[in-house]
């Protein structure tokens, strides 16, 4: 099985090679001795070289036998990471559709409930209050005081 460093190295190698191919379409410069492709090629070759080195080092370590890492105290809670990323992506998608106020209220309330599910009416009330206060305070502070025009909803006009 591929080691973590090999995955990193191969991903970066693929990216750098793909971008190197794209530099072929860039024009030469009439003003300076080097064109717009000159510097990108240097950094992409550097990245490709380092990626290969990382893969080679990982392969060598793998052959020598990977040292057993220190055991973590608890397994990472990836379920909550996926939940948070999903909630954030939904928030970003809904922001221009529902507008800042509605989307932010739903996001702050929803993510709180997902991260720590409320088990009592009091806790639900707290979740709602925090969602309302966060939305109102950020909206008023940025729109009224700091002159930032926050997104309006295409669907809601709000």
């Amino acid at each position: 099985m591929l080691g973590r460093d090999s995955v990193t190295g191969l991903a970066c190698l693929a990216l750098s090679l793909g971008m190197l191919v794209l530099t072929r379409g860039l024009p030469e410069s009439a003003m300076v001795p080097v064109g717009p492709a000159f510097y990108p090629r240097i950094v992409l070759v550097l990245m490709a070289g380092l990626s290969l080195l990382l893969v080679a080092l990982d392969w060598r370590t793998g052959r020598a036998g990977r040292p057993a890492g220190a055991k973590a105290a608890a397994a990472p809670n990836y379920r909550l990471v996926v939940v948070t990323f999903t909630a954030f992506i939904v928030y970003v998608v809904l922001l221009p559709l529902l507008g800042f106020r509605i989307a932010t209220f739903l996001f702050v309330g929803g993510l709180q409930a997902l991260l720590e599910p409320p088990r009592s009416a009091r806790r639900w009330a707290l979740v709602l209050v925090i969602a309302i206060v966060t939305t109102l305070v950020t909206y008023l502070a940025f729109e009224q005081y700091l002159s930032v025009l926050l997104p309006r909803g295409r669907w809601t006009e709000f």
Partner: protein, 511 residues
């Protein structure tokens, strides 16, 4: 460039005006709370404060950020001493003796030795900041494009070599940062590069949304991973008693002048070196204090020396980082990287000409830094118990609020959703890189310096096409040689650590 003390005093008086004092005070309070919150670094706090500064005038915004920086550096010691969890990576070494001191029944002493050491270390660092920035900027004024190119390469090589446990990954991280900067129009002809025909990528990736995305998600998702499976919050103990005799605590520090000065020196030095940051400074200062001590065996049992070394070095580190950004335009750590972004939004380019072109802002930053130190002491004195209650806010409440502020920070830059999409993309990238064990500091520095490296390289070649000039011009050649030496040193240290059987540590997401 001589220091104008008249200008400095005038700036201090100006900062004491409510217009600047209020943002500075609010920034300091935010810094103390953010610094004290375990899992919320100073970088995260400054990212949260950033959108509030867009509508302010440049000095008001920078004063708020300076307050966060100074307050955060000291705030981290509160949780480090009271619950044994460093509020920020720059307070890691404070836990070594601060927490044992609390367990020995002296929580007030643990906190206040830390606060006063931070104050005194910060003050000494401030003297260096004011005295050294001008002369260093004068040196940088002599630089041509060859020297700038080599300086930036040196900064990058240093960070890649010194951060993290794998030099190859550090360098690769720096290269990823450089590659991100080549996306978008080229700096000479404006030819679109790697834009895949979309307008979205034509202007390249804006720096601040990338920075916020990478740091915020890397940090927050790492915290979320550690949350309990049932979603419940950590329980907290009763409020400790924090009263202590202040003169006695101050004497504890002042009676150890060598320790204070040496730790401050280490803090400044690490701060001046690009992007290494307070997390390295406090551990290094603690290690030095232990080596020089007549009672090294007592370290770790709750003695004041350990707290003094850690706290004085991490606040002096703030001053060192400010020197580097103001004299060379290179951020000393992630916090100054955000400050650099904020300055460019206001049309200010930090660098050698910064002090001469924007003296009011430069002296304003000096003044804000000096005023923030006593403010930090007052803020902690006035509200230590109140801040402790805020610190105990569950992560499930804090994280959604922080994410909303990140979105506003990215959106408010240009009032467009594209910057929020960039935030999301680099949030995913940042978390993936953390999981792959790639250090983030070199990437950020590559991202900051990439455009400047390309611009100076092309300027140099356009002036004289001979590439040998990079090596034969004394300063440029010296800097390139220093880059090679720093890499050799990093390889040697890495090899030595391996030979000693050192175990790999988790990457820290803060600089």
């Amino acid at each position: 460039m001589e220091v104008s003390y008249e200008h400095l005093f005038a700036s201090i008086l100006a900062i004491l005006h409510l217009k600047y004092l209020v943002p500075l005070l609010l920034g300091t309070v935010a810094g103390v709370i953010g610094g004290a919150l375990p899992g919320i670094t100073i970088t995260m706090t400054i990212i949260m404060v950033l959108p509030f500064t867009f509508g302010l005038d440049p000095l008001q915004g920078l004063a708020a950020m300076t307050g966060v920086y100074v307050g955060g550096s000291a705030g981290g010691s509160i949780t480090a001493s009271l619950i044994g969890i460093p509020g920020t990576p720059s307070a890691i070494a404070t836990t070594f003796d601060g927490f044992p001191m609390t367990r020995n029944g002296e929580p007030g002493r643990a906190i206040w030795v830390g606060v006063w050491a931070a104050f005194l270390g910060g003050l000494l660092g401030g003297v260096f900041l004011i005295a050294a920035t001008g002369p260093l900027a004068s040196v940088a004024l002599e630089f041509g494009p060859w020297e700038y190119f080599s300086l930036f390469v040196f900064a990058l090589s240093m960070v890649a070599g010194l951060v993290g446990t794998s030099i190859t990954k550090g360098l690769l991280s720096g290269a990823i940062g450089l590659v991100i900067t080549v996306i978008g129009s080229d700096p000479i002809m404006g030819v679109p590069r790697f834009t895949l025909g979309t307008d979205f990528l034509r202007g390249g990736f804006p720096f601040l949304p990338v920075l916020i995305g990478i740091f915020a998600f890397a940090q927050l998702m790492s915290d979320i991973e550690k949350m309990r499976r049932d979603g419940s919050s950590e329980s907290t103990g009763p409020m400790p008693k924090l009263w202590v005799s202040q003169p006695k605590v101050l004497w504890e520090i002042l009676s150890r002048p060598f320790l204070l000065i040496w730790s401050t020196f280490i803090g400044i030095l690490i701060g001046v070196l690009p992007a290494i940051g307070g997390s390295a400074a406090n551990v290094m200062a603690y290690d030095q204090a232990k080596k020089f001590s007549r009672r090294p065996e007592k370290f770790g049992t709750g003695i004041p020396e350990g707290i003094i070394a850690s706290e004085s070095s991490n606040n002096a580190n703030v001053a060192g980082s400010l020197v580097t950004i103001m004299a060379f335009g290179i951020p000393g750590d992630a916090v100054t990287a955000v400050m650099l972004g904020a300055m460019t939004i206001h049309g200010i380019q930090p660098g050698p000409l910064f002090i001469s072109q924007h003296p009011t802002i430069a002296y304003g930053i000096y003044a804000a830094y000096l005023v923030a130190l006593p403010l930090m002491v007052l803020v902690i004195a006035a509200g230590a118990r109140a801040w402790l209650r805020v610190i105990m806010v569950p992560k499930s409440i804090l994280i959604p609020i922080v994410l909303v502020l990140c979105v506003i920070g990215a959106y408010a830059l240009n009032n467009i959703m594209d910057d929020v999409y960039v935030l999301l993309i680099f949030g995913l990238v940042g978390y993936a890189l953390v999981k792959l064990g790639v250090p983030l500091a070199p990437l950020i520095l590559g991202l900051i310096l990439g455009d400047q490296i390309e611009l100076n390289m092309i300027r140099a070649i356009a002036t004289d096409p001979s590439p040998w000039l990079f090596l034969t011009r004394p300063i440029s050649g010296g800097l390139l040689l220093a880059s090679v030496l720093s890499m050799v040193l990093a390889f040697w240290q890495h090899h030595r650590a391996k030979a000693r059987g050192a175990t790999a540590e988790e990457e820290d997401v803060d600089f």
